[in-house]
């Protein structure tokens, strides 16, 4: 089917960090999810957070080699958001109003994988945030923003790239310590 082919292309583009693809999916699905969450005891900000989490789930799924699209993107995104939101409501002891504005498919496994991944990333996040400056900014510049050591040396005020490199390794050793104190390799 043409629609399905289009969606496959869209997802491939999403996996390749094509921001146009992300924008298209965002545009076509956000209002639907917003309506669902607003109708079920949620706020605009909560809807945005939930929707973006679902986008991340979709992104990670699209990137994985074993990815197969078994439903429309709309159905998948809605199902993920629904699942995530009902779970959150349950955690804070609230009830959903049972308002459904779309059909949903079972996505329990995907949500579980996503949450496990989130927990792992949370370890890195906490480790980075407890690192302190300038280590945090320095490592973020290198690993997240993919800056070169020359750029980093310049913007952080090191006399040369080698100095910056030395500083980076000192920070990295600390970060790894923090990270592995939380992260269990055996798992």
């Amino acid at each position: 089917m043409k629609g399905d082919t289009n969606e496959q292309v869209l997802l491939k583009a999403l996996a390749n960090n094509d921001s146009k693809a992300a924008e298209t999916i965002y545009k076509e699905n956000f209002n639907m999810v917003l309506a669902f969450i607003l109708n079920n005891n949620g706020s605009y900000d909560e809807a945005r957070d939930i929707f973006q989490e679902a986008m991340i789930t979709l992104y990670q799924k699209a990137k994985s080699e074993s990815f197969v699209l078994t439903s429309q993107i709309k159905t998948y995104v809605y199902s993920i958001c629904r699942r995530l939101w009902l779970k959150r409501l349950h955690q804070i002891g609230k009830m959903a109003n049972g308002v459904e504005n779309f059909e949903s498919i079972p996505v329990e496994d995907d949500v579980e994988i996503h949450e496990r991944r989130n927990a792992e990333l949370g370890i890195m996040d906490r480790a980075l945030n407890s690192l302190g400056e300038p280590c945090k900014s320095l490592l973020e510049a290198f690993y997240i923003n993919k800056k070169s050591m020359d750029e980093i040396a310049f913007s952080f005020g090191y006399t040369n790239a080698d100095n910056a490199k030395n500083q980076k390794y000192k920070c990295l050793i600390r970060l790894k310590k923090l990270f592995f104190s939380q992260y269990n390799i055996g798992e």
């Binding site: 960090n17 992300a22 965002y26 050793i173």
Partner: protein, 370 residues
């Protein structure tokens, strides 16, 4: 310093930036030194986690950018304000319906409690006010019920033609001993009528005149069994009754004659109708057409209607209407020439029992049939 050197080496190795000869040397080192091998594995895992973290963080950033861009262009909603008003109401309703339900029940219970208190503590004077209020409502609705009997049973009395159906019933009384009776027009719903005296004797009668405008009808007993009464014991009064005047009535709310007494409540009738007056006495369906006597045995009115919402508020047509009717009939039809209305009551200064004994012979049960 050693650690940094090692880390640098491992990174270069994992990056694939290491020259071939150094790589071979390093791999040999990994095989021989498990501690270094462990470090390599660990760092590989760390870098993988870091990559993924970076990837997701970057994606999150781009999502934020997309969100602000789309909400600026209006391609997605930028606030909770929905496109349509109804949606907002539904949202609010959904969010607050439980609160609203609780609030509503509390309000309801409070309202009930307060009205219970109000009823309990309010002085009885309020009650008459309430009744006055309900009367005005009734005026709008004009819901008076007519106090005549509706008889639906198949006629089995011998005087009624076979196969005839009884339609309505009420009371009639003699206005002339020769056999002329007055009743309400609404009592005579059928085409014929028979009258029954208090002892159950039935007489055929003719309907001479029906005037629905003033709700009066004239009947004439047309039966050889009927013996005319020379002098009627009561008179019919031309003038207005007085407020508070004690009154009594004789009628047929059932097959037997029934006595009731009360007083004149108001000089006008329903909605200020000057042709009738308001009585305070008990009347029931079947009392329609019943004469209303004063203490002197003068007929002052004919019971016509009663108010539905209140007890003991009965309206009677004033007796001067009988005079008016007979006078106008006399002018147009010779049939009524002979009617002489009784002008002198012989019931004055008699006790009630004697008055009733004399008068009851002249009060009849009317049944109208088709």
């Amino acid at each position: 310093m050693e650690d940094i050197l090692l880390l640098n080496t491992i990174e270069r190795y994992l990056d694939g930036r290491m020259p071939e000869d150094e790589k071979g040397f390093f791999e040999q080192l990994r095989l021989n030194n498990p501690a270094i091998d462990q470090m390599v594995v660990e760092h590989k895992l760390f870098l993988h986690q870091m990559d993924e973290y970076a990837d997701v963080e970057n994606f999150k950033d781009s999502l934020h950018t997309i969100h602000s861009k789309l909400s600026e262009t209006g391609e997605i909603r930028s606030t909770e304000e929905p496109a349509s008003f109804g949606g907002k109401v539904v949202q609010l309703w959904n969010r607050y319906k439980r609160t609203a339900a609780i609030a509503a029940s509390i309000a309801g219970i409070t309202a009930l409690f307060i009205s219970a208190l109000a009823i309990y503590f309010s002085p009885s004077a309020d009650k008459s006010q309430l009744e006055r209020l309900s009367r005005t409502i009734e005026e709008i609705k004009a819901n008076q019920i007519v106090t005549n009997n509706t008889l639906i049973k198949e006629a089995n009395e011998p005087k009624i033609p076979k196969g005839a159906t009884l339609k309505t019933g009420g009371t009639a009384f003699l206005i002339d001993g020769k056999g002329f009776l007055v009743t309400n027009a609404h009592v005579l719903n059928g085409s014929g009528a028979i009258v029954t005296d208090k002892d159950g004797h039935e007489y055929n009668s003719k309907i001479l005149s029906v005037d629905h405008a003033i709700d009066l009808a004239i009947l004439e007993i047309d039966d050889k069994d009927f013996t005319p009464i020379k002098n009627l014991p009561y008179s019919i009064r031309r003038t207005q009754p007085d407020l508070g005047e004690e009154l009594f009535t004789l009628g047929y709310p059932r097959d037997e004659i029934v006595y009731n007494m009360g007083y004149l409540g108001a000089k006008t009738g329903y909605k200020g109708d000057t042709s009738s007056c308001q009585l305070s006495l008990t009347a029931n369906p079947g009392n329609s057409g019943a004469p209303v006597f004063n203490n002197n045995g003068e007929i002052v009115g004919i019971i016509t209607t009663k108010q539905t919402q209140t007890e003991d508020v009965v309206f009677a047509l004033k007796s001067n209407n009988i005079f008016k009717l007979i006078d106008s009939l006399k002018a147009t039809d010779t049939l009524f020439k002979n009617i002489k209305l009784p002008l002198k009551s012989s019931l004055k200064n008699m006790d009630r029992v004697s008055q009733v004994k004399k008068a009851e012979n002249c009060v009849f049960l009317v049944k109208s049939y088709n």
